[in-house]
């Protein structure tokens, strides 16, 4: 049953990403990748499994966005880093059951780890996409604007929708 819910949630989030968030018309600056909330809130699994989930999600996004490996690199990176960030804050992380949201790991930990993971993901995606240091200000601007919108969506999901 839990797996079934996870799959449905993944489909809904990917649909929202592709249908709405990929086409936000805001001065070409705003590219929130809200689909990473699937990785940020992913239930605790063995690390290799988390990385494979990240890899699969990245490949799907790369096919949709024609971005050839950029999302895959960013997703694998945050899947690898997430257990490191969480295990520093939460004692006995293996005991956490279900999704990693505010309710299960604590408000402050969830808020902080989401910021780090969103920042790392967006930084990798936008700098690989720009592929030159000449436009670093553009990368920083995009990370800040798109990252804050992504973070807002992650918080809405992690704090409000999953309160129960």
């Amino acid at each position: 049953m839990k797996w079934f819910q996870l799959v449905i949630r993944t489909i809904i989030v990917l649909f929202l990403q592709i249908a709405i968030f990929n086409h936000l018309p805001l001065f070409n600056l705003c590219h929130p990748y809200i689909y990473i909330l699937l990785l940020i809130c992913l239930p605790i699994m063995p690390r290799y499994a988390e990385m494979l989930v990240g890899f699969a999600l990245g490949v799907i996004m790369d096919c949709v966005c024609s971005s050839a490996g950029i999302h895959t690199m960013a997703c694998v990176a945050i899947s690898y880093i997430r257990p490191i960030i969480l295990s520093r804050k939460v004692q006995e992380i293996e005991r956490v059951t279900g999704e990693v949201v505010a309710g299960s790991i604590g408000n402050a930990t969830f808020a902080l780890s989401s910021i780090w993971l969103t920042l790392i993901h967006h930084l990798i995606v936008f700098s690989l996409d720009t592929w030159s240091w000449a436009h670093w200000y553009w990368v920083v601007l995009q990370v800040i604007i798109s990252g804050s919108i992504t973070l807002a969506c992650v918080y809405v999901y992690g704090f409000l929708l999953r309160r129960s």
Binding site: P25, A68, I70, V76
Partner: protein
């Protein structure tokens, strides 16, 4: 051997991380090789049909502005038809070869179903494919100006490399002096590109129009590309740095025309024969 196994056992996660990142990185650096493969991109039939459905939905929100531009284009075209009809009638009496030469360009109307114009990997996906006579290397234009060149095609959809892509180099010329150069885009803005290869001995004015040169067999001559927005030249440089404001507004692009050239193979034959 045992040490090696123990090393793999202890660092398995890190090694898997490196392996997956390496796979993704290879995909990224070999992007050009796979650009032709429609399977791994957004012109993939499954993804493109999803995007097509979404674009149908989206279209309702743009109806009024699209209508406006279509009616403007209609009016302009009707005026052109009238003018051309007059010319054809006059010429027909004089010269029957004239008509044949003007059969060179044909246009396939298409709709943009998916688009990315704010990164370095910009692309467009159109709802016409091999089935409709679209092929790799054909030009794409809109009512405002040049859009790009078809980069990949499958049966139902075509993916376009726009002029706002770093790998694109389009032959064009200045309207006032007829001097030919190349249009190049370095980003990040989708509204501006650079015109290169214009020597300093030529006088260039702000506001001069940039047109297609007709030197390639992709586009007819004199299709607008942009307007010179800024003229600068560094001390000791042989060539100008010319900033061009593009006439095509990629953000609002909905309908385009694919330019086909039935005489292209004839033209290529002559080139290889000589």
């Amino acid at each position: 051997m045992r040490n090696l196994l123990r090393f793999i056992q202890q660092n398995g996660n890190f090694l898997l991380f490196l392996l997956l990142e390496a796979v993704a990185f290879l995909w990224l650096v070999n992007e050009q090789k796979y650009q032709q493969s429609t399977f791994l991109s957004s012109s993939n039939t499954v993804i493109a049909s999803v995007n097509s459905a979404l674009s149908d939905m989206n279209e309702y929100f743009h109806l009024s502005s699209v209508n406006e531009s279509l009616s403007a284009e209609n009016a302009r075209l009707r005026r052109q038809v009238d003018e051309l009809q007059n010319i054809v009638e006059r010429e027909q009496e004089r010269d029957s070869v004239y008509l044949y030469a003007h059969l060179q360009w044909q246009y396939i109307p298409a709709k943009v179903v998916d688009m990315e114009t704010s990164s370095q990997h910009n692309y467009l996906v159109l709802n016409k494919g091999e089935r409709d006579g679209v092929g790799v290397g054909q030009g794409v234009m809109s009512s405002d100006g040049i859009v790009g060149v078809v980069g990949a095609v499958n049966q139902y959809y075509a993916q376009v490399v726009p002029i706002i892509h770093p790998k694109m180099r389009l032959s064009c010329r200045l309207q006032s002096s007829s001097q030919a150069g190349f249009l190049q885009w370095t980003g990040p803005s989708a509204h501006y590109a650079y015109l290169t290869d214009i020597g300093r001995h030529i006088s260039v004015e702000k506001g001069d129009s940039v047109m297609t040169s007709g030197l390639t067999n992709l586009f007819p001559e004199n299709i607008p590309i942009g307007v010179i927005e800024d003229v600068s030249i560094k001390e000791g440089d042989t060539y100008y740095t010319l900033l061009v404001r593009l006439t095509t507004d990629f953000g609002r692009l909905r309908y385009v025309q694919i330019v086909t050239n039935p005489l292209k193979s004839e033209q290529d034959n002559v080139r290889t024969a000589s």
